[in-house]
């Protein structure tokens, strides 16, 4: 479609370092504001959620992708289209559960954590937890309740960074109350 191609060519590519450093400043500030890492993780997730519920509209408008038929298609689009569009990386999709309701995104490199080394006193900080919130919020807007968490994090000494996604349920659309 011509409209679409226009959009992608004129959408300016931003230097990702600015984004990475801004995110770093955000995490730093949260660590100052809150006593413990748990609380910081929670705040990051919450902020991510608020971003996700808005970001999904931008994503749908830009990609003109319709509803997904199943969770596998969802996984594919998240990894190949969404991550590519917004972070410039393509995580691999692996570790499907037998029921097809759980999978992992493996990130070779994590653009949010390019310049980061976790100090010892922040061993429970999930540095990129914003991403979990974004994924959860965005999927909720397309009627999917999903549980998202970091299963492995290279910042905390794991070999790779792994985001685990678990499909919980389909959110049904209902007629608003008080209507026949």
């Amino acid at each position: 479609m011509s409209r679409q191609s226009n959009r992608t060519t004129d959408s300016k590519k931003m230097n990702s370092e600015l984004f990475t450093l801004t995110y770093g400043a955000l995490v730093t500030q949260l660590c100052k504001d809150y006593e413990n890492d748990e609380e910081v993780n929670k705040q990051l997730d919450k902020m991510g959620y608020n971003i996700g519920v808005r970001l999904i509209e931008d994503f749908l408008a830009r990609s003109s992708i319709g509803r997904c038929q199943d969770f596998r298609e969802t996984a594919d689009i998240i990894a190949k289209v969404a991550f590519k569009t917004y972070l410039g990386i393509t995580p691999s999709v692996t570790n499907w559960s037998p029921g097809g309701d759980e999978f992992s995104l493996i990130l070779e490199n994590n653009p949010l954590a390019d310049f980061v080394e976790l100090p010892d006193n922040h061993s429970t900080l999930i540095y990129s937890n914003l991403l979990c919130g974004v994924l959860r919020g965005a999927l909720e807007m397309v009627q999917m309740a999903v549980d998202v968490k970091f299963a492995q994090d290279s910042l905390r000494g794991d070999n790779v960074t792994e985001i685990r996604m678990k499909f919980i349920k389909r959110i049904e659309e209902n007629l608003p109350a008080g209507e026949e």
Binding site: E57, L60, A61, S64, I65, G66, E173, L175, P176, E180
Partner: protein, 145 residues
């Protein structure tokens, strides 16, 4: 050739935006009731269409027409619903509705953090841009109506 009016509903059925251009006949009920009636009908048509279709559908309900007007319907995967009434000479307004979503709604509403979600839009910028977009449409021409 003309555009009558436009509704935008969110996923919960509240009407986020309404404007009319060439609407000669009013419903005779309050706007709130009209929005509810409209949404209820759309909701029913959607479920009717999906149950009656003999094949799997991609886009579902697209439009209907009566002897005097045509209602065009566009729904995003996130459940936003764009509804535009035109006269019968406008055969397909899908691109128009898509444009309103991706270039006006997303850019001026979703990307404006000060606009709360789920409430009627109170953005002059969106209103004026939409108005000038609708007026610039090739089939917007009140005099010929």
């Amino acid at each position: 050739m003309t555009v009558h009016n436009l509704y935008i509903f969110d996923r919960n059925g509240s009407c986020l935006f309404y404007n009319e251009w060439n609407r000669k006949k009013q419903a005779g009920i309050s706007k709130d009731e009209e929005f509810k009636l409209m949404y209820g009908m759309l909701f029913s048509i959607r479920s009717f269409v999906s149950k009656m279709s003999p094949q799997d559908m991609k886009d579902g309900f697209l439009s209907f027409q009566t002897s005097k007007y045509r209602l065009h319907y566009y729904e995003t995967a996130s459940g936003l619903k764009f509804v535009m009434n035109t006269d019968l000479s406008v055969s397909n307004a899908r691109d128009t509705l898509q444009h309103i979503y991706s270039n006006l709604y997303v850019d001026l509403v979703v990307k404006n953090p000060l606009v709360p979600s789920g409430q009627p839009l109170d953005s002059d910028l969106f209103g004026t841009r939409l108005d000038s977009f609708i007026r610039s449409l090739p089939y917007y021409s009140p005099r010929a109506a």
